[in-house]
Symmetry: C2
Subunit: 255 residues, 2 copies
């Protein structure tokens, strides 16, 4: 590892997009392909050292990202970041693309500096599916009642305990599962029902759990007060199934 | 094979969509996955006989279809076609979806009755690619000059000899490669350059050859008169490279 001219490690921020299909999630995991694993190996080849990565949103297996953010420190201060983007993208394409690289303030941390995350979930509610979107929309055969789903979604907004919508094992024992949701709503875009949600942070599998519950409302199997009830109950037992991962995409991280 | 009650075989028209990625093209080919092979096996299970299929557009390996049309005859006149759609789609999903099935006139033939075919070719001309579209757009790093490309495209329209844009071996010796193009043009849709072309019929690899030549114009390596020159020359020698198959999709067949 070469020392920087002033000896102070510097922080680089990478913005990237990826297709979740080929990966077992973002986080490095021995023996399976991951976004982090691919990116660290590429950085190792370009930088001469494999940095530890901080990430804004640890997406699960199969989940996509349009705007993921990663940061790391490097002793290298001689880097041409435009060239870094090109080199990394060449090593990671086509499933991962680096959209930008920039020097960040010394206290920048992709995860801890992030103030908001936004996700989009796409559903095709039609009798027949679409093979050209099958990797990015959840196909349900029933026409969904978006108005009812939006009444449920309204109960998500605010500071709420999302225990009913989280996989506990990924969180430290006793950790709060209260999250602040700033936006949650469905809209019809062409033949798709699209759900957008923003929060300060998300607990594990929260968006897929929330979507799974709202689809039950949209199909008429549950009433819109399901969401508020689940928040108050704060117990995952008996919760509706998770929506599948391939309909989900991380769309923005705010700092 | 069971005889129909009146003994007269009847014609069924299927409309279907597929993702070209998993297939070595439409046409059945021993030992490799094809759309025709998958569909014939599914029909065999549902009908009790594997019919010979006529197809409107024999797409190549990797080419997609939003609106392909297939026809076949069957001695079965007891079929519930709504159920046929559901059964076939269940057997062919997710890469192939049957969008409709209908009884057709006795002289209907998906290939010979078709009067027009329309294709769309999608190009992302931007410094960085998009992993969420990488299977359906051709990524070129240079910003394309659509105005120049459209001047070239104008020379495609009309009754022209497309020898310079065709792979000969797939056509009978001496067969005419004159095709009637009714529409050909590029437009900008968001960050994509999209090419639409309609003709009475296409010869083998014609759209990919035409797009490959026009991209050379759009990059400024060739002038717009390249297309007219290639048509007049009627010789494939020295033609620009084919555009890759994954940007191409069959969008409509007219009868």
């Amino acid at each position: 590892m070469t020392a920087a001219s002033d000896g102070i490690p510097r922080v680089i921020r990478l913005d990237l997009a990826y297709h979740g299909g080929p990966f077992h999630g973002f986080a490095a995991n021995r023996g399976v392909p991951t976004v982090e694993g691919l990116l660290r190996r590429a950085l190792g080849r370009v930088l001469g050292h494999e940095p530890d990565l901080a990430v804004a949103g640890r997406t699960d297996k199969g989940v996509h990202a349009r705007a993921q953010v990663v940061s790391f420190t490097t002793p290298r201060d001689d880097l041409d970041l435009d060239r870094l983007v090109i080199s990394l993208s060449a090593l990671c394409a086509p499933a991962v693309v680096i959209t930008s690289a920039a020097w960040a303030p010394p206290d920048f941390h992709a995860r801890f500096s992030a103030r908001s995350r936004s996700y989009l979930y796409r559903v095709l509610d039609a009798p027949v599916g679409d093979p050209l979107r099958a990797d990015q929309v959840w196909h349900v055969r029933t026409a969904l009642d978006l108005e009812a789903m939006n009444r449920g979604a309204a109960d998500l907004v605010g500071e709420n305990d999302f225990t009913s919508f989280c996989r506990r094992p990924k969180h430290p024992p006793g950790a709060s599962l209260v999250r602040g949701v700033t936006e949650a709503g469905w809209e019809r875009v062409g033949d798709e029902a699209r759900f957008r949600i923003s929060a300060n942070a998300f607990c594990h599998q929260m968006v897929r759990a929330v979507v799974g519950a709202m689809i039950e409302i949209g199909r008429g199997r549950r009433t819109p007060d399901l969401i508020g009830e689940m928040i108050r109950r704060a117990d995952r037992t008996g919760a509706p199934s998770l929506a599948p991962p391939h309909g989900l995409v991380l769309t923005a991280v705010g700092y």
